[in-house]
């Protein structure tokens, strides 16, 4: 299976609280009216300037194993190497919000609309993260239709640059997936352009296979430890 997916923007729209959290505002804090209006304006800009597109392509465990080796720069031990071998299904993915949103954010900064620009940026980043969940749902539906998933199946996305998977892994991922067809370019630094793009692998399998402790040497440098929240959410 290899498919280009058009994701409706309405499904990517983050909650206000998520955007405020991304800006360091504690939950439940009363917002001045001006900021509420600004956030609404930022949501409108997000809707006007984003053009989301995704690409998903299945691959076998041996294919992913070869791809995961990348440039040989992964951490000596990573959680994903233990997880993907137990998978019932694997699919590479790439997603972008398009060039427009980044250009709009830059234009807002240039005209001193700092708070608005930063709100739009947080909305776009949160939406991009949300896209992984939507792609996971898409893949789960597909596996279910083929009778390859059941109520015990859980899907999580893993990306180069995180959890010991070196960012140079993007090179082989791009060679296999070709996200250029949805307008994503890979730079020499392994950064994707447009900036509001994500890529990685969706791993489908029994929910328990995704469980790991955040005690790898590289976990010390991780500012979020968001893996544990994702695992908890999947298992609950």
């Amino acid at each position: 299976m290899r498919e280009i997916i058009e994701i409706p923007l309405s499904e990517l729209k983050p909650e206000r609280e998520e955007v405020l959290k991304a800006q360091g505002v504690p939950a439940g804090r009363e917002q001045p009216e001006r900021l509420r209006h600004l956030l609404e304006e930022a949501m409108e800009i997000f809707f006007q300037s984003s053009h989301p597109r995704a690409l998903i392509s299945e691959l076998t465990i041996p294919q992913f194993e070869a791809l995961y080796k990348g440039e040989g720069l992964n951490a000596p031990r990573t959680p994903l190497e233990g997880i993907f071998r137990k998978a019932d299904g694997l699919a590479l993915f790439a997603f972008t919000l398009g060039r427009g949103i980044g250009e709009r954010i830059n234009a807002l900064f240039r005209t001193n609309e700092f708070a608005l620009a930063n709100f739009v940026d947080s909305i776009a980043s949160t939406a991009a993260d949300k896209a992984i969940d939507l792609l996971a749902h898409f893949y789960l539906r597909l596996l279910s239709k083929r009778g390859e998933a059941n109520s015990f199946t859980g899907i999580l996305g893993y990306s180069p640059g995180y959890c010991g998977w070196h960012i140079s892994g993007q090179k082989r991922l791009f060679e296999f997936l070709h996200p250029e067809v949805i307008g994503i370019e890979l730079l020499d630094s392994f950064l994707m352009r447009p900036l509001k793009s994500i890529s990685g692998v969706l791993v489908a399998g029994r929910k328990e296979i995704h469980q790991f402790a955040d005690s790898y040497p590289f976990c010390n440098q991780c500012p979020t430890h968001s893996c544990q929240e994702r695992i908890r959410k999947l298992l609950s």
């Binding site: 708070a115 960012i167 630094s189």
Partner: protein
Amino acid sequence: MGRLAEILNHLQQGNSEMVSNLTRKAIEEGISPKEVLDRALIEGMNIVGKKYGDHEIFLPEVLLAAKAMYAGMDVLKPLFLKEEVPHRGRIVIGTVQGDLHDIGKNLVGIMLKGAGFEVIDLGNDVPPEMFIEAVKREKAMVIGMSALLTTTMPVMGKVVELLRQEGLQDRVKTIIGGAPVSKEFAQEIGADAYSYDSANAVKSVKELVDEVKERYGGNP
């Protein structure tokens, strides 16, 4: 309430239009541009920065206040000789070569300007040589570098090394930041400071600039 206190008050609330109008009025009433700059705009942003550091207010409010400060500065700028706004030091900032992430660097730049520094923003994907050329050309006291990718972090080390080769390491201090960057990494590459957020960056830059001024009398 005095005119300067009014400006200071509206700046904290992020009322750009009021700050702009009141700055104009202050000048018409004979208050010097320098006094408006120091006692209303910069002082206002100092208070905002402190409240942000104390978690009394949060980033969106800080950015609204910064916009208001810039609105006041726009009124004052033509009134200074050659349109050069007095500043407490010149800082060159940029996101290092290979990296296009701008936001963190932009926020630091906004906060530094708010604190009264002149900021030369080189943008993103900045090669090491361009940082060096800029500090020489602008007679800057500090280079601020940002990276969001582990693969681009070594560029920061190259900038520090180039400064050494040019014999500028005492006259030009370096500060680094960005998600994968740490205090330990700063020490490893010989950068003078590391900052985990924009408020902390301002504090560190003040210290670095004071250090340079103490040694070279404000004219490196």
